[in-house]
Point group: C3
Chain length 258, copies 3
């Protein structure tokens, strides 16, 4: 049923997504509205700015409809789970849906919190364009389904972060082997990955390709940062620098897809 992706073409296609993002940066940078946790907000905003997108971050129920409906993509990260935020998520997802904008769900740590898992399950019924999460979080939702089967059943893409990332759509799947071990020693790296998937969805309608592109961009930037790091502090600085300088040709060359 599943067509094996043309891997030689895939890295180039991911690079084309980055090229499209960059082409818009100086004129109309795609805006990603981020409902994200307070630990991750600053780093996520800087990751988006570094790659050439524009972040907005309000979570106020009174105004989030205006922001989410006019954004080019929406990120819903459950890492802070206060009551105002839950209300804001509801409005934002409705607003993005009405405006037919892509949105990414990042169900942070649902494996530790039953109320958060319940919210993630409910949000899943509202058709996120992509889910970015780790294996522990996926297990809570998956009921032993494979990523590909789960993606097919929910008309979404599963972007599963790990030592090797897996990006599974309903009909195709890829493994991404870039990245650096130190990415696990800097907070909000997964949240940043989700934001980059959202940024790519803003310029690429194919939800699977956009997810491959988003995770590849971060993985390759991490690899480049890993060539100069002296520890997790300087690594976090270097990955922002790498995101800023990353050229599509270098992404195509370095992306380890299989």
């Amino acid at each position: 049923m599943r067509t094996p992706p043309d891997l030689r073409a895939l890295a180039q296609n991911a690079a084309d997504v980055l090229a499209r993002l960059r082409a818009k940066t100086s004129t109309t940078p795609p805006r990603v509205h981020c409902i994200t946790n307070s630990v991750a907000q600053n780093f996520t905003a800087n990751v988006l700015l570094a790659v050439g997108a524009q972040p907005s971050m309000t979570i106020s129920p009174d105004e989030i409809g205006h922001f989410a409906g006019s954004a080019d993509a929406l990120l819903v990260n459950l890492g802070t789970f206060d009551r105002e935020r839950a209300e804001a998520i509801d409005i934002a997802v409705a607003s993005a849906g009405a405006a037919r904008r892509p949105w990414v769900l990042d169900p942070v740590l649902i494996d530790r919190s039953p109320p958060r898992a319940a919210l993630a399950r409910e949000l899943l019924t509202r058709k996120p364009t992509a889910l970015r999460l780790n294996a522990g979080e996926f297990a809570v939702l998956a009921d032993n389904q494979s990523p590909a089967d789960f993606a097919a059943a929910h008309s979404t893409v599963i972007a599963l972060s790990g030592v090797t990332d897996t990006v599974a759509g309903g009909t195709q799947s890829a493994s991404l082997a870039n990245g650096h071990p130190l990415m696990a020693r800097v907070t909000a790296m997964g949240c940043a990955a989700s934001a980059l998937v959202a940024a790519c969805l803003a310029v690429e309608k194919d939800q699977w390709l956009a997810s491959v592109a988003g995770l590849s961009i971060l993985g390759v930037a991490g690899e480049i940062a890993g060539e100069v790091w002296k520890g997790p502090g300087s690594f976090a600085v270097a990955i922002l620098d790498a995101l800023y300088h990353l050229q599509p040709a270098e992404l195509a060359k370095r992306a380890k897809v299989s």
Copy 2:
């Protein structure tokens, strides 16, 4: 009606404001109470500490009166617009007013959110000492008035950030041409500018001069950081280092006022 400022004197006067701030740093650093958005809090606190001021950041309605009334200046940034924060702003502005403390309004992204614009308009009637904002935000409030006319009508100063900054008081105006393009690729840079204006207002009663000083300090620090940057991550680090080391004589020499 408007006296052209003595530009040769102006850069030196801005440097004197920085010298006054520095003189107090080791003994009684001016405290700036910041009601600011959660994306900007950490960077804003570090900018204030780097330049030699003291930040405080609570937004709790239960205690903000104590903090704002005893601070040397108050910053009200609308970048996060939750309900508790709106209540806190009301108390803090009243408390600063009663204690005759200067306060700065930064109406972040009011061009994207009608409820936020409505709050900004209401706060304008409460006489902020200075408004720091960008052109899109100013247009929402200005009703086609020029910055100088608007400043005169509201007894305030308009500190307008852009490629060239404009600082317009009721009777005088200056352009500031320092800064670096990468300042637009690091989040919370505008918020930091507003915090620096507040820090300068804590040591300089002339609200126009304090605003010129605040924006010049950041612009020159950005220029210095731009001499060593490798990307937006290292630029954000370098601007904190530059703020810490910036000497009044160097500010006077580098400030491009006209």
Copy 3:
């Protein structure tokens, strides 16, 4: 009544605490649940990750019981004092108590806010394992008692930060003379110290020794960062790198206990 600690052994014992933390890092890193202020969240999370612990940060009353009860230690920092957080603190302390987990109270700026001081006094009756604070904050609680008498009266440890740190238990006390002046020019450094004390309490039951270890680790890392700093921005980056690389033997050698 008070036994003078064996200082030669103490530095080595602190190093052993770090060794125990490091031994768990790659398999079961101790998780520290942090209720901390929004200014400090990101830096605190990165400090914990750098040293090899695992942070979690939710403050939602709906789920904090799950997080705090399953964590290896709890940090309660009063630096943001909103209503939801006060409710979360109540639940988290009860949950940590029921699971017999150690917890650290950091009563940030209670010298500026009577409502916050009242909350700190109430939390003190709930037996924090350690209190990490500065002299101004301690004075609000101490009623002229010495740190050692106060610690004895409340069955806790007072970890008092200053140019020289004092760690006073009911029966023993030590002074720590590491650190760097620039630690006062980076926000959330005290909050990070409290988080490190919590991380050490997760692997060391002796609450006095764990507190000595936590403050020594940060002080020595600050000293190392101070050897390469160019300003507060690069210092904050370097201290994360130093925490990551710090070896128990180096801690034992550098720790200036007396």
